[in-house]
Amino acid sequence: MKFLWKSVSDFEIVTFEKELLNQEVRQHVRSFNKKILVRDIVEIGVAVMIIPMGVFIAYLLPDFFIRTGAMLLIPSALLIIYKILRARRFKKPGQHFISNQEYLENNLVNYQNQKQLLGSVLYWYILPPGICALLILTGLDLPAMKFYYALSITIGLGYIVYWLNKVTISKKIDPLIKRLEEELGELKGM
């Protein structure tokens, strides 16, 4: 069997163009890092922008509900930033040189953290800004129809975010966790 296995290389060989390979790999790593940076800016940047916006609204509109809602936007945004940064701290990217078992264990912890983060999205991503929006809407003194219309949109958006995260967990993360647990369980159960 070993002989047969080694004979695979009799049918196909790999060659490299050294200089071009250096350029391509460097370029790929650079563009990958750039994508990560853009993702960070998009995810955290929006939450950061909410803080001065909250201060501005609270300063501009004196109504009690609006002012309270706008001021509460600040801790809500800070909570989102904290949650995202904390989740990222657990990730261990790029450690491909550890043993296979450690690698599987790291991936399992990583996916379990992702599941925990997405599973609790209602409490740190949807409800806090949702309550702020409700307070601001109340303070705006809109006609009943417009108020309910705006409220429905706010609740609808929150539900979509909640539902998308639930789907991500059940369709993508749970199967991976199950598979990793099976692999590791089999190794440890021996």
């Binding site: 070993k2 004979s7 196909e12 050294k18 390979l21 043993s99 296979n100 450690e102 692999e183």
Partner: protein, 168 residues
């Protein structure tokens, strides 16, 4: 400094490229996936190179990266779309093998072997691929992270599974 880094990178690739390719093939459904995987391994070797301290044998280090990348890619293909890389600097060349008594029959046997390896679980596959690469149990244990005893027990089971598959 950069030149030393590049030299080490090319040296490691040259010494291990065929082993990497064989393992990538065992983790792939088709030729395109095999090429993608190989390129991803190359990228990960580059990324991990600053952490290479030479304490572990170079082959152990390379096998770890290769197998982890392959396992990760399989997870990705279930979860997200795998990265589709295109490195023009890497050429895959199919060659006509005249040394083999019957190249066609050998190819069929190889495909059959790949099919049976494909039915194993990832860690079983890793252990068996390293065995096929002629590594001692001690090194297989260092790469996979299980003890030598576990490797031996696993090997017994894997061989039984494969023999049944190959006979079918």
């Amino acid at each position: 400094m950069q030149e030393e880094f590049n030299d080490l990178f090319h040296q490691l690739l040259e010494q291990n490229k065929q082993q990497i390719l064989r393992i990538c093939a065992a983790y792939s459904k088709d030729t395109d996936e095999k090429k993608d995987l190989f390129q991803e391994v190359v990228i990960n070797i580059w990324k991990s190179l600053p952490s290479f301290e030479g304490r572990a044998a170079a082959s152990t280090w390379i096998y770890r990266i290769t197998l982890n990348t392959c396992m990760r890619a399989r997870m990705k293909s279930n979860k997200y779309q795998a990265n589709h890389l295109k490195l023009d600097s890497i050429h895959f060349e199919t060659i006509q093998n005249n040394d083999s008594v019957d190249p066609h029959a050998t190819q069929i046997q190889i495909n059959n072997l790949y099919r049976c390896i494909g039915q194993l679980k990832d860690m079983e596959k890793n252990i068996f691929l390293l065995y096929l690469e002629d590594l001692p149990y001690k090194e297989i244990a260092a790469i996979t992270g299980v003890t030598e005893n576990h490797v031996a027990v696993h090997m017994k089971r894997i061989k039984e599974k494969l023999l049944t598959c190959l006979k079918s």
